[in-house]
Point group: C2
Chain length 558, copies 2
């Protein structure tokens, strides 16, 4: 059975581009999801097939091939029916390791894949010869043993490519880590690992470092190995702390991402890396674009006080030599404080929260991230449309206007009338000006819309991680809600219940600190984005006005 | 058999507007030519029917119902085969009155009807109750007797509506007035009617008056008659010479137009009046538009030294009272110096031209007007497209952008994060600015493109008259070309041949003076037009830049 999709916005096909005109509300059959470049191939009810922007449609996951799965998660996101969840919560479930991914691609709000940041599962099924080369083969062993952690660690399956595919194909069947073990454990955070949360002006906040870490991703270089049989691109990353560059390939970034998801994914939304690409990997344009996106991802990670301070992140930025890197990798891959265990290390120096307060906060955040996801998606859709119009019909039209003026000038030139030249020269200049405007209009999206789209795509990716983070939180809330019942049936002691409430409070402070971190970054990012966009837009209109003024000045006032 | 048409430019239908997407070169079947507003209904080869801008297609007149006609003109415009024309030229033909119209609508370059200036024949078949009212009924008698003039006068048939329809339906069958009688007559222009042609800086020119006549068409008032049963609009026309206003209704303008065609049409292209309209005649918008176009037409007539100085035109502008007007009308309707006889009155004070020179000049002018017609048409087509884009998809898109920013702002407002307000207020302002831009974009064509379209439509109408004027000229050239043969066969005397050549020279000077008048006006008009257009365009871009700057200023620099 093919995937069905509903059209969210009207879309008019440009002739000759294999596109399909669709109207809001129409149901399509998706015939090819991996076209790339933000497009999917679909068939309408009349049997016409063509390309449609993936932002314009909403995939209906229910219509996909639903394969049976062993771990049908009791904590899936039917939040509103907590009693229905009760039966799934038992010791067996809790001790069974859950294979869970902070899945950037599976659409947790029921949307289509992310335009750019999403790791399209199918793409991963291609062999990526320069990322899969063998010198670091041992390190992939780190993913190889997913069934051992009893804390519900966020691990990926052994072959992460197939893992990703199966998750992408069957969104909704990803497993939420079980927070029960954590909730029932009494603990005191201490030592190096301790992550304090303070009461800041805006509410609970992480401990921010005095100096903000940042790094520069630059200087992509093609390297090769195995006597030139395999080649790859290596980027230079220079942290502002040491100013000493280290080299990393995309697969190292991916390794870092895996570690961060594993360690922090239950508490912090870890945005996906920019996606891999199957074709044209060495094209300059692609390398530049990937570098720009890796820079964006790294900067976001650097800005996070918990992530930037973590051992694995510091290793990535500061390893001294190949040996140091390999030792550090092995060490971090053995780190046991992963999954929900991360909450053991969090220490809110704040009064314990009532479970009702926790639930209300969670609901607020859930609502906000969902609304923002919608809004970001709307902006992306309209930006996509505008981009297309600027580089397509608008450019063509301004060229036509320019051509029409120049043709008129040519005709006037044939008049053999002696007083013609001022007008024909001015007309030709006007025509050329409109041709220039055509190119300015077509080039403008790269100048301003590009950054707007990139930033919003990044946010779309980030927002897509929240449902999973919230899912863990929600599972904990539900667990605590049934505590009275568990006490009554002697499944847990009243003391256990107290511990659970205290631990839930810690989880809530974590979420609050994280949301405050998100808000503060969001305000900074959108402020910067909008200013940049408007500055470029002003320049755009002013440039055109100036050019037209210049053309105007060539006419004589008669 | 239905009319076929070839598509000249790609056109993409807007969804929901009953439009038809067509591609350059495609052949359509026109299913309804009288849709109005610059559209025709057509069917493509796949059987889809929809509206297409008439400027985008070229009707194929050969495919229309070709009705048999009695007066199949020997002088039709197959210029290049002059020997083939010989057999049609005989005494009978010459003495047969030819019913000919300076047909503004029949497409002499094989184009579709004019977008706005053309008198769409089918529209005329509706009863126009307020223009056909009866008080001036007697004056229509002036068109009533078309079969009497042996000089090939440019008269219309008795019922001009059917006359126009039949001409429109069968373009190519209009009759060219026969210049033979004029060519063979010796004459000396003298008295009041004498129209001298001088040698000016640019070549042969009319005698221009010292002060340029102009007039103002203003103050449209609704009047009524027959105790309010019939109503009409009366315009006030004030010439700059007397500064004394006179009143005229549209039908009076039409009467003036008929007289000018009759008297000058063989020598001067008389542009059509703005078209009548069937519906919404009293709507303010329409009245304003018609007034604007009547003003344009009158100004053009005022600028013409021959027309502005003519008795009929002076009567129209300067009649003293109702009685004066009626007497003057009757007098001008009896004027016998009409049709090719107008050339009797023309007196070029210049050396006689050789027939070869005449032919070469004629060819040059023919080429120029044809090319300019093409170019004007191209400009109208692209202007039409641009207008549609500005008021359609572009407006919609800027509104969407505005809405997307405002929605994002609303979502941000729900964050409950304390440091939000500066950003959300600025974002809302940005959104509103883009909504304003949407309206500016949609309103802009009325500000600048309107004048560009109007002027070019006027020129398209004017250029559409040239083939007929040239046709008379061409017929005279052909006549003179066969003079040797006629002399050899004793049909005319050598003296007749000399007279013919002298008269042809006069006709050529007339055409040259007229072309120089056209060129001088054209340069003036397009200079003014382009300056106006560019000034408005500059204002447009500057206004938007200013608005965006204002929005930008509301963000804080962090």
């Amino acid at each position: 059975m093919a995937m069905k999709a509903q059209v969210l916005y009207d879309f008019t096909a440009e002739p000759g581009n294999n596109e399909l005109t669709v109207q809001e509300g129409e149901i399509l059959t998706v015939t090819n999801q991996i076209v790339g470049g933000g497009w999917v191939e679909a068939r309408n009810s009349r049997g016409d097939t063509g390309l449609v922007p993936e932002d314009y449609i909403e995939l209906n996951p229910g219509s996909a091939n639903a394969a049976p799965t062993e771990h049908n998660d009791a904590y899936n996101r039917d939040h509103n029916n907590s009693s229905a969840n009760t039966q799934g919560v038992n010791g067996n479930e809790a001790s069974t390791a859950t294979t869970w991914s902070n899945n950037c691609t599976a659409d947790n709000w029921n949307y289509t894949e992310q335009e750019t940041a999403g790791n399209n599962g199918s793409l991963y099924s291609f062999d990526d010869e320069w990322d899969d080369d063998s010198d670091d083969g041992k390190s992939t062993g780190g993913y190889g043993d997913p069934q051992t952690d009893d804390g519900g660690a966020m691990q990926r399956g052994g072959a992460h490519s197939t893992m990703k595919i199966s998750l992408n194909k069957f969104p909704g069947f990803s497993k939420t880590p079980n927070p029960e073990v954590y909730l029932l454990t009494k603990h005191v955070a201490k030592g190096n690992e301790r992550l304090p949360i303070y009461s800041g002006e805006v509410g609970p906040v992480w401990l921010y470092p005095q100096a903000q870490l940042d790094c520069m991703v630059a200087d992509p270089k093609k390297g090769s190995k195995m006597y030139g049989l395999k080649s790859y691109i290596e980027y230079q990353i220079t942290p502002n702390t040491t100013n000493r560059p280290v080299n990393h390939r995309y697969k190292h970034f991916d390794w870092l991402y895996e570690r961060l998801v594993e360690k922090f994914g239950c508490a912090l939304p870890i945005p996906c890396l920019p996606d891999k690409q199957v074709t044209g990997r060495f094209e300059e344009e692609f390398i530049k674009m990937r570098m720009e996106r890796l820079q964006g991802w790294m900067s976001r990670m650097c800005r996070h006080p918990v992530i930037s301070n973590s051992e694995v992140f510091q290793l990535f930025l500061n390893y001294k030599d190949e040996k140091d890197w390999k030792l550090g990798k092995r060490k971090t891959e053995k780190d046991e404080v992963v999954g929900v265990k991360i909450f053991y290390t969090i220490d809110p120096e704040l009064p314990e929260l009532d479970p009702a307060q926790v639930e209300q906060k969670c609901e607020t955040y859930n609502q906000f991230t969902k609304s923002m996801d919608n809004s970001v998606k709307e902006l992306l859709a309209v930006g996509h449309l505008h981009w297309k119009r600027c580089t397509g019909p608008l450019q063509k039209e301004y060229r036509q206007i320019g051509k029409a003026f120049q043709n008129l000038s040519s005709v006037f030139n044939t008049s053999a009338y002696p007083r013609e030249s001022t007008l024909t020269e001015a007309l030709t200049a006007t025509g050329k000006t409109y041709e220039e405007i055509a190119e300015i209009v077509a080039g403008q999206p790269r100048k301003d819309l590009h950054f707007l789209m990139e930033t919003n795509t990044e946010y779309k990716g980030l927002l897509g991680c929240f449902p999973d983070t919230m899912g863990v939180h929600r599972a904990a809330i539900d667990k605590v809600k049934e505590a009275d019942h568990l006490v009554a049936t002697n499944k847990i002691s009243p003391q256990d219940k107290r511990t659970m409430e205290k631990n839930l409070s810690t989880m809530s402070y974590t979420l609050q600190a994280e949301m405050n971190h998100f808000h503060s970054n969001r305000i900074y990012d959108y402020n910067r984005l909008m200013q940049f966009y408007l500055e470029e837009q002003v320049k755009f209109y002013e440039t055109i006005a100036e050019k037209l003024k210049n053309a105007l000045s060539q006419y004589t006032t008669m």
